[in-house]
Amino acid sequence: MAKVGVYVCHCGSNIAGVVDVAAVRDYAETLPDVVIARKDLFMCSDSGQEMVKQDVRDGVVDRVVVAACTPRTHEPIFRAAIEKAGLNKYLFEMANIRDQDSWVHGHDHEGATEKAKLIVASAVAKARNLEPLEDKFTPVTDAALVVGGGIGGISAALELANMGHKTYLLEKKPSIGGVMAQLDKTFPTNDCSACILTPMMVEAYNHPNIETMTYSEVDDVEGYIGNFTVKVRRKQTYVDWNKCTGCGDCASKCPSKTPDEFNAGLSDRRAAFIMFPQAVPKKAVIDIDHCINCGGREIGTEPKVNQKTGNPILAPCERACPADAINRSIAHDPKGSITEIEVGSIVVATGYQVMEKDWFKEMAPASPNVITALQLERIISATGPSEGKLLRPSDNEKPHTITFVSCMGSRDENFHTYCSRFCCMYMIKQARLLKEKYPQLTINMHFIDVRAFGKGYEEYYTGARTMGINFFKGKVGGLEMLPDDKLRVLAYDMESATNIEYESDLVVLATAVELPKDSVGLAQKLGLQFCGNNFFRELHPKLGPVETAVQGLFVAGCCQGPKDIPDTVAQAKGAAAAAAVPLAQGKVKIEPIISEVNPDICSGCGICVPLCPYNAISMKPTADGPRAEIEMSACKGCGVCTSACPSGAIVLHGYEESQIFAQIQALTA
């Protein structure tokens, strides 16, 4: 007979302020097999845990139920405690009477107390039926994968590589660098973005422990912590990167134009192109979606032969390449080439995208002189389309008045309720840089309010206020296009409590930060979850900021939520440290909450085999015919097979039928 101990937590006033803890304790004592019921102000405190441990050591209890908060955060703590005291840690069950009771039923103390009793009864019913389980261990592949080659991914990869772990750095674009490579300068120090980023890009690319895989994406992921198999799909470049010297001659001869993503669409690039001058690796790519097969030279065919000379007729890009690196005869394969890599942990740092201006119909998106802040960044960058000169796109004239509008799509119920966090600061940075360069320029900035939260940020902002930049508190209601490509700004100024109207030559919209579209597909391949704002969800908002619900999978940077460069780097280094833990340990624990077949009961029907999402079940021949068998390391414990087995031959440890029936009976008693 089980000896169940029940420990009811006050959680300060979190539980006791609503639930009558003493009444729950008294009730627990009346439940079958409960030998002792205690309560404490904080069960998770040292003294609270010690109380449980002492009862275990004294042999008073052999099953433990803690009625407190959620097992999602505290189950590991109590399991570790009873294990230390000498009890199998799986002989533990939690009753969630805080998150799912006192916190949500503050309006009904009596109802909450009655509910707490039933929740405790359910936990005790399960605990009576618990069986001891043993953890298993599996070896780890000492390598990591970092998905995303922006400043977050680069930082994480460098940390992992410097700790001595082989690291794959994956980037879907031809070059690493991410959005930071597109920036001119960075707040609050006005460092040149390229000057601080480029050396890191080169360091990562040349690091002996880092293998950089660009123009590549995750195709598929299998496995589990310590033993992931990742299929990496590299898009076709038609350029032999072993030969390409990055001279750019192919680009200069390519006749096909398409908007340049690196310049945020403000200029054109060619179909044969190098992403940007400081690209790492500095290699050319032929973007087949925009290649026009000029010169009659279809991709994937052998060149035609000149009848007179007998020489092959090559495309301009092929002819231009001094290194003979371009080969258009390679068959077009949209799938690209697949490489399989084995890693022990994965860091996802896929960054962000900004909303396009077309979302904001009231902001005259049709005007070329309404631009996003990322476009302004390219305009003022020395590597941008105007080589750093402030020219408005419609006529390449110098503007006299420039307007900044904050919170376009952020803090807006129509789009995103969240704050994009770094827009206020980069707008102030852009304004300061422009004011320093063009003192005569009139700069008007419209904010809901300025959020200068970081180290040195407030000083940067107050400094800007002394520079002759006009700050308005209040929203811009709309823009009107005027005949001379100017825009009329219609805004509200809260400080003077009046509507204001003026003409502006250029308007910059600080559009909201979002998760990149293609990161959604990645999430499904990896098993990542989303938070309410549609960014990747971390394990715990405070205490698990880089971990995810998938063990061995970590997140860093803007894909987890908008953040600036210092925060991204900090989180990336944190994610790298966390990702290195299983690699350093050399083995990982496999929780025994997995399914197992009892071959004596199995009828060999095979219903379970196709149901398993991990192909973990196979039919093994025995003297009595085939019997199902589950591969332990592949099973993740979903229990789909257990539920489907017509013979009841499959047990999901930790969620056994007898345990669940006992819970149902307790809740309906």
Partner: protein, 141 residues
Amino acid sequence: MSFMPNIVGFACQWCTYAGADLAGNLRAKYPPSIKLIKVPCSGRVEPEYVLEALANGADGVLIGGCHFGDCHYKTGNYKAANRMKILKKLIEDAGFDSRRFRLEWISGAEGYRFAEVVEEFTKELQELGPNPLKGGNGNGK
């Protein structure tokens, strides 16, 4: 006074159980009718569990899983959805109003939605009245 129904909930630990925890974090209020049994996946819930709960006098049964495409185990929620389609008929055959059973997709981010679903389900059950097998008030006491 309307009675407080007794709802047995089966919640997948990745989505709906996390959503219910989030409702707590958000201090979203809902009636104390539901008590959750944590399961790894909605695909772990056997139709017998629902029938057992109703036969024992539960006024309502809820299964909560991840939205399609979000399942931690890829496809467990699809399997749950298929099983429960048939179950609805079985519930009717057993003489229960099939509105006593609900299958809902509630993500870990949908704390307020969890509260809304429980609120609404509770109201519906209050209109339906107690489980006919029990007769007395919803808690069966």
